[in-house]
Every structure is written in C-alpha cells, then in structure tokens.
C-alpha cells in the first residue's frame, strides 16, 4: 500500500471513530447533573456552585448537562425509571429543577430520594412557604415582573396594577409583547395572571388536584376573552415571541416598551448588557405576576446518590443562598434569616411577601392548548 493511501485510510478511520456512538458510563465521583432551565442558571452553576462545591468536596466533580427543556429532562427521568427496572446505571444523579411527581408514579416507584429524611443539615432552614414535597429542595425562587424601557416610559407612569397595564397596552398599541405560554415562564405567568384576573384574583382557587374539564372551561374562557381583547394592541397586531429570550431581544432592540420577564433573567440581562441600563423593573401591586421556586431532586438509583445528597445540602448553605440573591437575582429558598445580613438589607425592596404560584399538571395542559386554540389565532394582520 502506498504511503499516501495508507495515511488516507488511517485518517479516515480515525475520523470515523469520532462519529461512532460512544459508550458512556457514569463515573464514580462525577455527579451527573441535569437542568431544564435557561442559560443564566447553567452559568450560575458553572461559575459559582461547581467551583465552590468541588473545592469543599475534594474528589467529587460535577458534570453539568443542559437537558434543553422540561420535556428533555423528563426524558432523562424516563430513562432513569427504565434503568431502575433493569437495575442498570441511569447516568443521572441530580435534576436542578424538577417536580418529583413526574414522571407519573415516580415517588411511589422510589425514583427520587426523600430529602427530608436524608439528613440534610440545612433542611430546617428552608422557607416553609417554599416547600412543596419532601422529595425536593427549593433553592431558588423567581418571579415574573414587567421590564420596561425608561427612555420611553417614565418610571412614575409605569403600570402598577392589572387595570393600569391593560389601559397602557391599549393606549400604546404595538408596544407590548409576551411569549407563547408554553415556551417560557414569562409569557406563561402573564397568561396565568390574566386567569387570576378573570377569577377574582384568588391564587388559592387553583390547585394541582381541582382541575376538571368543566372547571377549566369556566375559569379559562373569561381569561381568553381578556387576552383576545388585548391581542390587537400587541406588537404587530397580535404577535407572540417564541420564548423568554426573544422577548428580551425585542425590548433590547427598542421594538417594544414593556414585556413580562423573569426577575432573575432581567437582572442578569441588565448586568451583562443584553438589556440597556435604562431598563426599569416593576411589579404589579394588586396581585403580583406569578412565579415560583425551583426545586432540586436527587435520583435514588444514581451511582453518586450520596454525593448528590451532599450537593442538595450544599446549595442550601448561606454561601450559595446569598449568591442566588446577589449573582442570580433570584430569591433564596431558605428563610430570609439564613441569608447574609447586608444582602437582606440591600434587597429589602424586592423581597416578596407572597409569590402566587400556579399549579402545573392538568391545568398547564389546558392553559397551553386553550391559549393556542383561542388566543393565538386572533391576529389582525392588517392593523
């Protein structure tokens, strides 16, 4: 064989090897961590939590993996369920933010670790309002608020109630946009705020278990009417962005004046220059836009279960919880007494007294489908 042909075939074979599916096994001491959250959360873990945790626990590493979205992470959870049935390695130890009720029957099937009984030294510090289940640790909270361009809207005139906001949107057609409710929480919670508005502003009226087809019809139809009424005054006569980030992009390009945005995402966008410094943030005072806590879960059949439990404890420490506030712009999952005193003073204004939190499950499905069928097609292209 000529040297040239030899080199070519060796090179080709080597290139081909790269394309072969690689067999992956979970390595001991490397926690396989997944998130479905936005990039700012992944950045926070990469730059803050990972170095601190690895320094505090020599020999343990974090493998941070972006699962894309909730459904992507759920697919990993499904894989873990399948792995449990065959007693194999799920290659997953920790979900950054997950509902332990999913996939259906996961808690009964023993997929997740009962963290309350796992002996976390910081469990008692958790803000009782934030606890949702014994199987998950709430470690950061976030809330949707309105981000606006102070160059076009004087902060003194920024809408502070739902009625003000609706009046402003109608008085300034084309200057407001929210994203499709299933594609990101900022638009999703704006839609949920409209649902509260249509149902007596009572967050307690909606629970994970009280959805029925009739209740959904009764509660959601008036909300669709509110949103349909707004649609012709939205950007481009009824356009909706495809996610939290495209909304921020439109605000940053000066195409719109007000958008709903996650508090943490808006703050980090302002800090990194994605949004100009002239961006103002305001929360509705009659009933806040909903938000919620992100809760981490540990997989019971993960190879690094014990290390992952340590991680769940570590993120509740004062160090990380203060960083959630200062670096991420989120709310801590622990009670405010367990956060750095200076920070508590500094952020006194944004400390929410309540965060309305809309239940997921069947309500979420009904809202997503109903919105697409009722509100989204209501577009006035000739406006």
């Amino acid at each position: 064989m000529k040297r040239r042909a030899f080199m070519l075939s060796v090179g080709g074979a080597a290139a081909g090897m790269v394309l072969l599916p690689r067999m992956a096994f979970a390595a001991p001491g490397v926690i396989d961590w997944y998130t479905a959250s936005d990039t700012n959360i992944l950045d926070f873990w990469t730059n803050v939590v990972k170095p601190k945790f690895e320094a505090a626990n020599p020999g343990v590493m974090l493998n941070l993996v972006d699962a894309g979205d909730n459904a992507g992470q759920l697919a990993i959870a499904d894989r873990a369920v399948a792995a449990m049935q065959t007693s194999t390695d799920p290659q997953a130890d920790y979900f950054e933010s997950a509902d332990p009720r999913l996939p259906a029957g996961a808690i009964d099937g023993g997929l997740y670790v009962n963290l309350k009984e796992a002996g976390l030294s910081n469990w008692s510090k958790i803000n009782p309002l934030a606890i949702d289940s014994d199987y998950s640790v709430p470690y950061r909270g976030s809330q949707v608020l309105l981000a606006y361009d102070t160059a076009k809207l004087d902060p003194a005139n920024a809408p502070k109630s739902w009625a003000d906001l609706v009046a402003w949107i109608k008085a300034n057609p084309g200057q407001f946009i929210y994203n499709r409710p299933d594609k990101g929480g900022s638009g999703g919670n704006f839609v949920r705020r409209a649902i509260y508005e249509a149902n007596g502003k009572d967050p307690a009226a909606f629970t994970t278990s009280n959805f029925t087809a009739e209740a959904g019809e009764k509660a959601l139809t008036p909300a669709w009417d509110i949103l349909k009424d707004l649609s012709s005054s939205l950007f481009d006569g009824g356009a909706y962005t495809g996610g939290n980030t495209p909304s921020l992009q439109l605000l940053g390009q000066g195409a719109v004046t007000i958008i709903p945005a996650w508090s943490d995402q808006a703050i980090s966008a302002i800090n990194t220059g994605v949004l100009p410094e002239t961006t103002g943030l305001v929360q509705l005072q009659d009933l806040a836009l909903p938000g919620g806590f992100s809760r981490s879960v540990v997989l019971a059949n993960g190879v690094n279960k014990d290390a992952a439990i340590k991680l769940a404890d570590f993120i509740l420490s004062e160090e990380i919880q203060s960083a959630v506030l200062s670096e991420l712009g989120g709310f801590p999952g622990v009670a405010w007494d367990y956060v750095n005193q200076d920070l508590r003073q500094k952020y006194a204004d944004v400390i929410p007294t309540t965060i309305p939190s809309f239940p997921g499950g069947d309500w979420e499905k009904a809202i997503n489908d109903g919105w697409y069928r009722n509100v989204a097609p209501n577009v006035d292209r000739n406006a």
């Binding site: 481009d236 356009a239 495209p246 390009q253 997503n368 697409y372 069928r373 097609p377 577009v379």
Partner: protein, 292 residues
Amino acid sequence: MSLTPASDIVGKKPGRGLSGLLLVAIPVFLVCWMVIWPILSAIWRTVWIRNDGGTGSSFSLETYVFFFSDQYSLNNLYVTLWTTAVCAALLLVICIPIALYLRFSTGKLAAYVQGLAIFPMFVPSIILSYALIRVLGPNGTVDLLLNAVNLPKIRSPYLTPWGPVIGLVWDNIPLTVLILVSGLGSVSNQSIEAARDVGAGRLATFWYIILPRISNSILVAISFTVLGLFSAFTLPYVLGPAAPEMMGPFMQRTFRDLNDPVMAITQAVIAFGFCIVFGLFYVRSVAKNRAP
C-alpha cells in the same frame, strides 16, 4: 458442471449475486429497521387505540377524524402546505439562475458565487434564526439602513408566516443549487452551440434545450427540499407566528406540552402521507434514469 456459452459471455459466476445482495443488505436492513418499521408502528398505534378504561384496544380512526374536523389542526396543515409551496417556488426562481450562471461561466467570480451559494449549508438554523431577527426584525439592520437614508421602516416578517419562508429559502439554497448544477452538467456545450447556430435566442435555448435536460434534476431538487421544508422545525418555531403553526412545531407541542403522543403520531402520519407523494416522484425519476 458445464458452463453454457451464454453464461460465459455475460460473465455470470456463482456467488456474485449473493455478494451483491449482501452489499445492499445493510442499507436495506437499516431502512427497514429505522424507517419502514417506525412508519408501520406509527400507523398501527394511531388506528389501534386503547379503550377509555385502559382495558384492551380496538380499531378506531377517531384521531384522524378529529384532525380533519378540527379547524385549528387544518389551519396548521394549510400553512405548512402554503409555506412549502411558496418556498419551493421561490427556491426554483432563485436557484435556477444561480445554477445556470455557475454552469456557463468560468473565472474567479463564479468561484466566489459558488462559495456564497453553498455557505448557508454551514450555518446552523438556530443561529440563522437569531441572525435574521437581528437583520430583518423590528429595528434591525435593514431598518437602520433604511432610516439612514430617510426611508420608512419595513414591515418586519418576524413572527409572521413570511419569517419562516425567508429563513427556509435561504437555508435550502445550497442543496437546490448543488442538485441543479449537477443536472446542468448533462447539458452539453455542443447542443447549446448548435441551437445558437440555428438562431435560437437565450430564452429559446433555455426553454427548448436546457430545461428538458434538467427537468429531472428539478424534480429531484423539489422533492428533496419539499421533504425538508415539510418537517422544518427550528425556523418556523423561532421566526413564525404562534398560530397557525407549521406541522413541525405543532407535532412537537402536541407530543411534549400536551402529552398526547397518539395525536402527535397521527399528525406525523398525515405529514408523512404528503411527503410520500414527493418521495415517490423522486423514486420514479431515479428509476426512470436507471432504466436501460
């Protein structure tokens, strides 16, 4: 064993047919395993539906009946067909001149044009989407340029059905150009010179000499791009309107957000039904070429 003269002439040796079959066995097996089987299983799962109580299954076409009686789903199908048709037409209008230019001109400029025409192939569609928002979106680059010369802003195609059309056309130019250029390779210079000699104009040369020779390539290019356009996801998702949505995002949303796999598979089978028509065009044209 005595060889007959005939078998000597055509060189038929025992075992040769077998090794030929073995060579095609791998692709055939892969196609059966990863394409044919999923299709059959998808069709089966949409017509053999689990009963309400979860006990047993029975034959039912209810998901198809729902799809074709649901105006929302039909609108999504129409917008997908509309986008596909508009994109395919625009692609031909844009790519045939580029391909003709690349076929009949030589020199440095042609090389640059070719490079430029192939460039979109190397741009991931998610990056393309965000770049298009920056350029064609509200207050984007185009608006800034127009504003600089005191012209009014454009009506941005972002979040309208034209958004995905622009993105998809740009994204599909390389494949279409490549197929058309390779088809134009079969048009000999002599035949064109002969046509010119008898006084045919440019248009007549194109219409009577070139077009009949490349009609096959056009068919192949159209069927390839249509298959890609029909299943497009990223560009319609980011650039398109919330409703009506194209089948790609619609299927994904039905499957993941509404947790309704059976309905999502039904939508997929319907989309497949449209695609298979163009697949058959392609197969027919290949088979026609192969025939002695």
